[in-house]
């Protein structure tokens, strides 16, 4: 698993660089939350909201692949931007618990203004 996470980090960074230029992924991790959600998250520097919008499909597909490789079902995929800016600082895929399926991913609107929803499993 540790090698797969490292490979996922490298792949994400490399593909994002091919798409938009100099992007850095300093850290990627698989996480488990107290609520029951699990996920894959990659910290980022150098990626901006407009690039995420332009390459939305490619980035989503890429995250789905990496997520599956670390055994996280990518039910909810999102980018989080630094509040008040256009900088995207984390890309996350999440396998949702029942509570978060409704509370976090259940609204028509993005759950918070700093979150850009890339994929939501209906």
């Amino acid at each position: 698993m540790t090698e797969t996470i490292t490979e996922g980090r490298t792949k994400l960074e490399s593909e994002l660089r091919n798409m938009v230029g100099n992007v850095f992924v300093p850290e990627a991790k698989v996480f488990g939350m107290a609520c029951g959600c699990t996920g894959f998250a990659a910290d980022l520097r150098g990626l901006q909201v407009d690039a995420v919008e332009v390459f939305r499909e490619k980035i989503t597909t890429l995250l789905e692949e990496i997520s599956a490789s670390v055994e996280v079902k990518p039910e909810f995929i999102y980018a989080r931007k630094l509040p008040g800016s256009e900088e995207v600082v984390i890309l996350t895929t999440r396998q949702l618990c029942e509570r978060c399926r409704r509370e976090f991913a259940g609204s028509k609107a993005p759950p918070r203004p700093d979150i850009i929803v890339l994929k939501k499993k209906r």
Binding site: P83, S107, R112
Partner: protein, 334 residues
């Protein structure tokens, strides 16, 4: 009639969804939303996840008005580093208030007395934030005479009915309570933490990277884990207990939570509008939300506790009521 003020995270889609639910379910008590303003102008007592520009504020305010909802801009930083008292700061706030007024904003929530004073020049309501720490008739009277249209009292006195009644009787303006803030009762971090939040949510940032980024929050969570009675002692108000406050002349209630998710806000709006909630009290508190995954405070088992708290002298070492209540109502989730 009771009036509920609902947190708005800031993005237009959230406002539309909140209003859609309010209308579809006939939640008539809901009459105002509030959101943070631009960090370019001022920070805020909470993190700011969205920085609405004036055009967006205007657009959202118009939408809210079309649906009979008032718009409140929250600019309740507790520290600006004195910027507002400089000539530049004065000009900036004057310009921003004028623009908010042109955008149709109904009310501005501020913590600093100088800004309350400035707001007298505009038709918008001057709402005193709970971060002005109004906890006595004396201080309430000061803000009332300064020109406040509404005072949000310090949550620390939410269960001090003698003081609340005294404040209601001392002022001509309206009095508002925040119902679902779960901060520690008489929190020793309160002033320092809100000063930190005010800087972090503004352009007036600390000069060096923080070494202990949120000491106050981390300490707060740890304290409660070691002593869960603190959760019961916090000054939140159960949805079922709003009538007790109406009885002393308070009819304006604000829900905290503008940094939370849309559906969480909508759920809380429902519970307080219906004045009924069957579940874990920690699920409806703005903070400390993370503890809801570990602790379950059964709201039904707290029924009637307001009768004690109304007359409690808050000398906890002599009383022990909250400790007994915690044993009855709080369980640790497996």
């Amino acid at each position: 009639m009771v009036s509920l003020k609902i947190p708005h995270p800031g993005h237009f889609a959230a406002l539309q969804e909140i209003i859609a639910v309010k209308e579809a379910e006939g939640l008539d008590a809901v009459d105002e939303v509030f959101m943070g303003g631009s960090p370019d102008v001022m920070g805020s007592g909470r993190g700011v996840l969205h920085a609405p520009l004036l055009d967006e504020i205007r657009e959202q305010t118009e939408y809210a008005h079309e649906h009979g909802i008032k718009m409140n801009l929250t600019m309740n930083a507790t520290c600006t580093g004195g910027h507002h008292l400089s000539f530049e700061g004065f000009k900036m706030f004057s310009w921003y208030f004028k623009e908010l007024n042109k955008a149709g904003v109904d009310a501005v929530t501020v913590a600093d007395p100088y800004l309350v004073d400035m707001l007298r020049d505009y038709p918008m309501q001057a709402v005193v934030s709970c971060l002005a720490y109004v906890e006595s008739p004396q201080r309430a009277r000061f803000f009332d005479e300064l020109g406040a249209d509404m005072i949000t009292v310090d949550t620390n006195i939410n269960r001090h009915f003698d003081l609340l009644e005294g404040i209601v009787n001392a002022v001509n303006c309206r009095v508002r309570l925040i119902v679902n803030e779960g901060c520690l009762y008489r929190c020793p971090f309160r002033y320092s933490h809100y000063n930190l939040a005010s800087h972090l949510s503004s352009l007036n940032q600390p000069r060096a990277p923080l070494w202990a980024p949120d000491y106050y929050f981390d300490k707060c969570i740890s304290l409660r884990l070691r002593d869960p009675v603190q959760i019961v002692k916090s000054a939140w108000i159960r949805p079922e207990d709003l009538a007790e406050y109406e009885a002393i002349g308070i009819t304006d209630f604000k829900l905290s939570g503008r940094t939370k998710t849309v559906n969480w806000i909508i759920d809380c709006m429902r519970y307080y509008a219906h004045r009924a909630f069957d579940g874990n009290v920690l699920d409806i508190l703005d903070c400390p939300q993370m503890l809801r995954y570990l602790l379950y405070l059964d709201n039904k088992k707290l029924s009637g506790s307001i009768s004690h708290w109304k007359s409690c002298k808050k000398i906890c070492n002599e009383c022990g009521y909250c400790e007994r209540l915690t044993k009855e109502a709080l369980t640790i989730l497996k």
